[in-house]
Symmetry: D2
Subunit: 376 residues, 4 copies
Amino acid sequence: MVGGGEGSFIGPVHRMAAQLDGRIELVCGAFSSDPERSRRSGVDLYGLSAASSYADYEQMFAQQAAKPVGERMDFVTIVTPNHLHFPVAQAALNAGFHVVCDKPVTHRLQDALHLRALVERTGLHFAVTYNYTGYPMVQEARELVRSGALGAIRRINCEYLQGWLAADLDNKQANWRVDPDQAGVAGCFSDIGSHAENLIAYISGEELDMVAADLNRFVPGRRLDDDGNVLLRFGSGARGVMCASQIAVGEENNLHLRIYGEHGSIEWAQMEPNTLLVRLADGSTQVRRTGSAGVSPAAQSITRLPAGHPEGYLEAFATVYGRFADAIGSGVASGNRAVNYPTIDDGVASLRFISCVVESSERDGAWVSTHEEAAT
Amino acid sequence: MVGGGEGSFIGPVHRMAAQLDGRIELVCGAFSSDPERSRRSGVDLYGLSAASSYADYEQMFAQQAAKPVGERMDFVTIVTPNHLHFPVAQAALNAGFHVVCDKPVTHRLQDALHLRALVERTGLHFAVTYNYTGYPMVQEARELVRSGALGAIRRINCEYLQGWLAADLDNKQANWRVDPDQAGVAGCFSDIGSHAENLIAYISGEELDMVAADLNRFVPGRRLDDDGNVLLRFGSGARGVMCASQIAVGEENNLHLRIYGEHGSIEWAQMEPNTLLVRLADGSTQVRRTGSAGVSPAAQSITRLPAGHPEGYLEAFATVYGRFADAIGSGVASGNRAVNYPTIDDGVASLRFISCVVESSERDGAWVSTHEEAAT
Amino acid sequence: MVGGGEGSFIGPVHRMAAQLDGRIELVCGAFSSDPERSRRSGVDLYGLSAASSYADYEQMFAQQAAKPVGERMDFVTIVTPNHLHFPVAQAALNAGFHVVCDKPVTHRLQDALHLRALVERTGLHFAVTYNYTGYPMVQEARELVRSGALGAIRRINCEYLQGWLAADLDNKQANWRVDPDQAGVAGCFSDIGSHAENLIAYISGEELDMVAADLNRFVPGRRLDDDGNVLLRFGSGARGVMCASQIAVGEENNLHLRIYGEHGSIEWAQMEPNTLLVRLADGSTQVRRTGSAGVSPAAQSITRLPAGHPEGYLEAFATVYGRFADAIGSGVASGNRAVNYPTIDDGVASLRFISCVVESSERDGAWVSTHEEAAT
Amino acid sequence: MVGGGEGSFIGPVHRMAAQLDGRIELVCGAFSSDPERSRRSGVDLYGLSAASSYADYEQMFAQQAAKPVGERMDFVTIVTPNHLHFPVAQAALNAGFHVVCDKPVTHRLQDALHLRALVERTGLHFAVTYNYTGYPMVQEARELVRSGALGAIRRINCEYLQGWLAADLDNKQANWRVDPDQAGVAGCFSDIGSHAENLIAYISGEELDMVAADLNRFVPGRRLDDDGNVLLRFGSGARGVMCASQIAVGEENNLHLRIYGEHGSIEWAQMEPNTLLVRLADGSTQVRRTGSAGVSPAAQSITRLPAGHPEGYLEAFATVYGRFADAIGSGVASGNRAVNYPTIDDGVASLRFISCVVESSERDGAWVSTHEEAAT
């Protein structure tokens, strides 16, 4: 693990998620750019030996790479602030390690494209932790939409609303997210809008065509967006809207998706993740539930408990790790179609989305194309 | 009553709502432009005598106006398709009758402005049935927001989603709503977007400044929008988004409003109208309920039943009639500040909103000012 | 109307419900045993003339009966405290008037049996306002259960929980309900337990066989039960439990029914009355909604508005009146099978249930048979 | 671990829960009474070496006990069918190991009392996995009730409803639960009624006084109860009802608790475990949420993620393990007041409850005292 030292939220989350299924173990880490802090985090927070708690990631990669296969770490998890994802990921790949990287995969679109090329060249696995794809009912939604049961998609509504940055906070979690040097060109849209973009794509398969955005900075002095609304046009003719906010007082972690097709619609909400509503044009409404009979084999395959035993955020996150472990274990290359973790391509798509949203907002809501040739 | 003949949905609704509190009685009507049909509707549908079922509204206004006060009708309710609102309303006012008119108040903004001038000149009462303002928890939301308890408003999300026009219907209810000659410049945004606009204004008091709209026509051959998303900017600096659709399969009548301020937020949904969620920046969430102790006197005053005895759409609609009856009964003029029914000013604001939304969409989502000088 | 004078909750409810569909009009009343109060209630509360506001019900029945048919009232609604239901109902029937009577139909089982005999003898219509039977989704539940779709019924859970009598109140609504001389042998179980009993019977058709009850009086000084739990055994072998309380702080009017059969189950809650959950043994869950396509014709026939336009307590209550008006209008006798309002038989069944529950509780929860021969 | 071999549901759950916080590691096990199956489970299911996968628990205890402290296992987890809990637990304690035992702690009350004596004598820690006590909102409920905020408790409603045994299943999970030789004197009430009993006690602190039960066997040929309802009387004067069923078709794992006091009430449902509803006599309703500001420090201390990141069944289960690890780590004896895992005393109380319920049902619902002197 790189990053995730004392005070980190996401480091322990990755540790718990990775280990949940008993297949992955944290064996070493460079938890902080401060060597003493890294050592302390490794020993006190993660129960590692001091020797396994490296002073920096370069040292860790070098020493681990020098070990024989079987004794060295199998992959690297990157949980630093956004701006460090790129150099660490690049170094890890160059040292021959598979990578799990928190999202957004990089700070800038250009860097994500470089990583993509590097992944292609090395054939190493590279997952971006779009953890919300790991919920069984997200999988069920994907199966349903892609089966054609809803008909042609017409409207997509996706919201990701939080309230925790509604006032000017001064803590580690808040600070880097609102600092352009660490977070990138966007704040709220980089941190959570990217999840919304990925969730839309993962479930619907719709290809985004254009965005028109109105980003806001409500808290005085804030240098990046803390809120915004984006109109969406998809290549198929579907339309949509995405709302993301970190100043929506009272919202906890409200990621909410609705997709409307010609013949039916679905609704899923992250805060009650084990329920998927399916409404059909004949007036009927079905409630599909994690673990219940009748859900798809794909959803069942990532369900750990019987219906009614709530699975949550960590379990979904663990599924991303499990899929990554499957891929590594299977010996296929990262480009293989059987890979079902979120890949560098997903990471690139998010970065492109973020940069288009920022550009549109700077141009007062003009429509901006999200196509590769246009955006790079 | 003018309009509301056989096959009408809204005519019987107005009749039930008007009579609910036992203060208003339907005494006569011109229910259809077809005299025989009007007579039949009056007798069979509304239980009136044939003599009280007029062949046309001009005749009705003339004959009723000729009666002495106390024997003639007290006011006119207009429930025709949109394009007839204006001539009927004009005639009623000119004949000296107060008017209750379904929304949108007219077909075109220009007509609404004429009606406004006529109302001002005559001092007669003119209500537009923005019936959702009549729910106790809408009143509670208004009291709360206007008390300043949420702090400065930052974000407003309002949706009004229906699915009943997802396919090409051929019935009376559907046909006029999708016909520009009867419905006006907009379809979905005229029919239900106008309710959303009014609800935002009624509760928040925020003045709209600019809109950027992306309207859609999903059903082949449809001549007016059946779906759309609008970015909103308010004069205060607040931002928002409105989604309206009549092709959102599976949605029944989902009018849903959230308002986020600096210190708190509210959420209200028309389909569970007796609940108002209030979330505060300290992390607490309160559930306010129609009829329960602790809600504001303003909300209590329009509550008919104890808490837990659900009040619904008709009761809210009846409240608009009750407030109109109060105003007439009180003898004040229509411009009086005590008037608390939705007025011609609300009707004008909606028309202006609709025309700006249509203009913005035609200009590919350009920001369009909603200010009076700009929009007329 | 007899009863329902100033300060009454249920009088205005009956008036609004009866008039909602425009078929029934309040033409006269004896609103209080105090003549002046009766006159004042008639004039001020119900907008009647002083002449139509009688000093007492005997006088009203006599004078109305003396009028020619067509000019006299068509039926009598009884909304007095429980102990007066019997003498007023008896007098009304003897005077030749159909009767709508609030529940419980009488104070004592013996009186209900006398009324039943009188109804049989006169052939007059007699409805008991088990108003919760008027909800469309209650009708839907009944259709579904009786279709056999759930298989043999095994378990029934019904709760009716309120909190408004949790402390010692001193007001008109509370006082008579806790006074054995006015309310009868039971308090909470007479007032609301009777609704629960009726709802179970109406939907399931299961015949109650035995009850074992534990009634409580939590508020010091209270002379009748304000809370209790009852074990239920049905003749078919099904089992169940009923909870009723008026001291359940925080509960508004929580009437909630679940029925479990071999192949499926249903769930309905009065506070969200437009939703019926249907869960089947194959793991699927359906949400049925008032007014939506696919619900039974029986439920549609008592639905006034399109789906998503909430109908509530008054509408359900109005349906009971509408069914009563249908029956009167049809000219059939009260024993006719086509009658679909809640009858005197329902009233008798509730009284028997109440008396068995009280007896069981007095015998420390012994099982008591609810069969006619046993209980009378 | 003892038990938990191939096909076990609860074995992997214990493993995931124990390891979630990174403090506990599965080091060895006797997973089946069949040595080959035990070995296979250890290697294939749990990733242990063959040497750590013992042929039987006696062998494991002997060999582990022979190792020096620090090298041997720290405690034993027992996840066998109920009838084996006692001999395994006894052997573990006698070998000097702390024990975590699934519920119900034994097959028969008498055995539980023996274990209690053994725990007292050895001072070893003994936890019974009443895992639902580990939810943050259960902790919050406990804090609130015990603070006196609800006033004296009057009514408790607890349900635990499942539907998975509605038909005659033939699988490992189902078979032992319906076999008196493996499950004990009760079926449904042993398997899930015991959780309900424990949850009531854990949150309310109310001491049960008497029960009157009506247990059922709906599936033909079933030898133990698969459903039942129990009236509850508490020493304080509070009353209640418990419903438990495994034939409630459509129910997943619906453990639901409501407690009503003089001044307020709470409601918690296991299937949406991160919400606690608090309703007060002043008419206000609060929604308390896992992880949100304002919840008690006790609830915060067992919360792993920020509000809105759902925590579920495994996390709650992990909390029981975490508390057990705390106790072992602290060096205190099992009788210490600081111990906050569910203890052998909880296990004994459940067994006593189960045996009283069975006795009452056999005596046709007679009230049976749950006091120690009475029940043993």
